[in-house]
C-alpha cells in the first residue's frame, strides 16, 4: 500500500482527496490503478502513448523516477509517490 500524494491542481479530479493508498509493485502499476479509479487524471498525466508526460514529475520518495527505473521503479509498502507540479526549471527529463 504505497501512499500517493496528489498536488493541489489535480485534486479536482480526485474528489479533493490529497493522499491515496494504492497497492501495486511498480510506479507504473500505481499510475494505472490511479487513472483507472480517476479516469479524468489520465490525459493530464499520460501522453497518447501512455507514457508519463515529459513535464510531469513523479517522485518515489525524494527521487525523480526518471533517475530510477522510470515507470518500472519498484514500490514498497512505505513508499510515498508524489506528483509534483512543474514550474520554471523544476522540470526533469
Amino acid at each position: 500500500m504505497a501512499t500517493v500524494v496528489i498536488p493541489t491542481p489535480l485534486r479536482k479530479f480526485t474528489n479533493q482527496t490529497a493522499k491515496l493508498q494504492i497497492s501495486a509493485d511498480t510506479v507504473g502499476g500505481i499510475i494505472e490503478e490511479l487513472t483507472r479509479n480517476f479516469p479524468d487524471l489520465k490525459k493530464h498525466l499520460l501522453d497518447d502513448q501512455g507514457k508519463v508526460r515529459s513535464f510531469v514529475n513523479i517522485f518515489a520518495g525524494d527521487e525523480d523516477i526518471r533517475d530510477l527505473q522510470q515507470e518500472k521503479t519498484a514500490v514498497e509498502e512505505s513508499t510515498i509517490i508524489s506528483i509534483v507540479p512543474a514550474i520554471a526549471g523544476g522540470i526533469s527529463f
Binding site: 500524494v5 498536488p7 493541489t8 491542481p9 489535480l10 479536482k12 490525459k43 493530464h44 498525466l45 508526460r53 515529459s54 513535464f55 510531469v56 514529475n57 508524489s82 506528483i83 509534483v84 507540479p85 512543474a86 514550474i87 520554471a88 526549471g89 523544476g90 522540470i91 527529463f93
Partner: protein
C-alpha cells in the same frame, strides 16, 4: 503620473524617475519567417528589453511606485509577495535600486538557477511546498503579512490593480503608437495583468479589436508564469468578460515553438514566450487579413536548465 512623483516621499523621487526610463518602450518584432500570409501581419513585443529582463518590470515598478506614494513602502517595511519567477526578479532589482528590502515566497521546486538569481539580487526567500505551486506560496505570503503588518507590505500581484494598470497605461499605448491598425491581441494568462490591462485599453481604443487569451491545456503544465484557471486560484484582477476567445496551448507545443523560433527567427525564447507566439500564429493563420500582436514576456536567459534539454 508627474503628480504622483512630486508627492512621493522625498529621496525616492529621483530614484523613481531614473528607474522609469528603464521600464517599457520595448521593441516590436515583426515575425516574418515562422508566419507568412498575404494581408496578415504578426508582431511580438520583446518585453525582455527592459529592467530585470522581463515584462514584469512594468507591474513591479507600478506596484512599488504606488506603494511609496501612499506611504506603504519607503518607511522601513519589506515588500512581500508570492512569485516563482519574473515578478520576483523585478521586485528584487527595484528593491535594490530603491533601498527597500524584498522577501519572496516561492515553491521549493523552483529551479536552483532561479533561486540563485533572486539571492544574487538580494531578495530574501521563503520556500513553500512543492505540491502546491504558486497557489501555496500566495497562501503563505498572505498569512505572513496578516500576522506581521508592521513588518511587511504585501504587494499581492494577483490582486493589485497597479499590475493591470501598468499595461493599460504602458504596453497598450506603445502597441497603438507602433501599429494603430491592430486587429487582434493575443496573450497568456498568469496574474492576468498583461492581458487584462492591455486588452482593456485596446478595446477602449477600438472596440472591434479582438483580444484572445491563452491558457495551458494541463493543470501540471510547464509554462512558467501561466495559470490553468480551471484548477488554480483565479487572480482577483482577472476580468472574465474581457476575452473574445480563449485558446489552450500545450507545453510540448511551446517547446516545439522554442526550437522553431531559434531556427527560423534567431530568437531564444522562454516557454511562456514560445506559447504566446504559438497562440498568436494560430490566430493569425485563421485570418484573411489583419494585424496580430502578442507579447514575449522574457527570453531564454533564465531557462538554461530547461533549454539545454529542449534544444539539444
Amino acid at each position: 503620473m508627474s503628480d504622483l512623483l512630486t508627492t512621493a516621499i522625498p529621496g525616492f523621487r529621483e530614484k523613481l524617475t531614473a528607474l522609469q526610463s528603464q521600464i517599457g518602450n520595448t521593441p516590436l518584432f515583426e515575425v516574418r519567417q515562422l508566419f507568412r500570409k498575404k494581408n496578415v501581419s504578426l508582431y511580438a513585443k520583446q518585453e525582455w528589453a527592459q529592467l530585470s529582463g522581463s515584462v514584469k518590470a512594468r507591474a513591479a515598478y507600478a506596484i512599488f511606485r504606488d506603494a511609496i506614494y501612499k506611504g506603504l513602502l519607503g518607511n522601513g517595511k519589506t515588500l512581500l509577495d508570492a512569485t516563482s519567477g519574473n515578478t520576483g526578479i523585478a521586485y528584487a532589482w527595484l528593491g535594490k535600486a530603491l533601498g527597500i528590502p524584498v522577501t519572496l515566497c516561492l515553491p521549493e521546486n523552483a529551479s536552483e538557477e532561479r533561486k540563485e538569481i533572486l539571492k544574487s539580487v538580494g531578495a530574501g526567500l521563503i520556500l513553500t511546498s512543492r505540491f502546491e505551486g504558486t497557489d501555496g506560496a500566495q497562501e503563505l505570503a498572505r498569512s505572513l503579512a496578516e500576522n506581521d503588518p508592521e513588518r511587511y507590505f504585501y504587494a499581492d500581484q494577483y490582486k493589485n490593480d497597479n499590475n493591470w494598470k501598468a499595461h493599460y497605461y504602458g504596453t497598450a499605448v506603445e502597441i497603438i503608437e507602433k501599429v494603430p491598425g491592430i486587429t487582434h491581441f493575443v496573450a497568456g494568462l498568469g496574474t492576468t495583468g498583461t492581458f487584462v490591462g492591455t486588452g482593456r485599453r485596446l478595446k477602449k481604443y477600438n472596440p472591434q479589436i479582438q483580444v484572445i487569451s491563452l491558457q495551458p491545456d494541463n493543470p501540471l503544465h510547464g509554462l512558467e508564469g501561466w495559470k490553468h484557471l480551471e484548477t488554480a486560484v483565479v487572480p482577483q484582477i482577472y476580468d472574465p468578460g474581457l476575452a473574445d476567445r480563449n485558446l489552450e496551448i500545450g507545453t510540448e507545443e511551446s517547446w516545439q515553438m522554442i526550437r522553431e523560433a531559434r531556427d527560423k527567427e534567431g530568437l531564444i525564447l522562454s516557454p511562456s514566450s514560445a506559447a504566446n507566439l504559438a497562440g498568436a500564429i494560430r490566430v493569425a493563420s485563421g485570418l484573411d487579413e489583419g494585424i496580430v500582436v502578442t507579447v514575449l514576456p522574457d527570453n531564454g536567459d533564465k531557462y538554461g536548465e530547461i533549454l539545454k534539454k529542449i534544444l539539444r
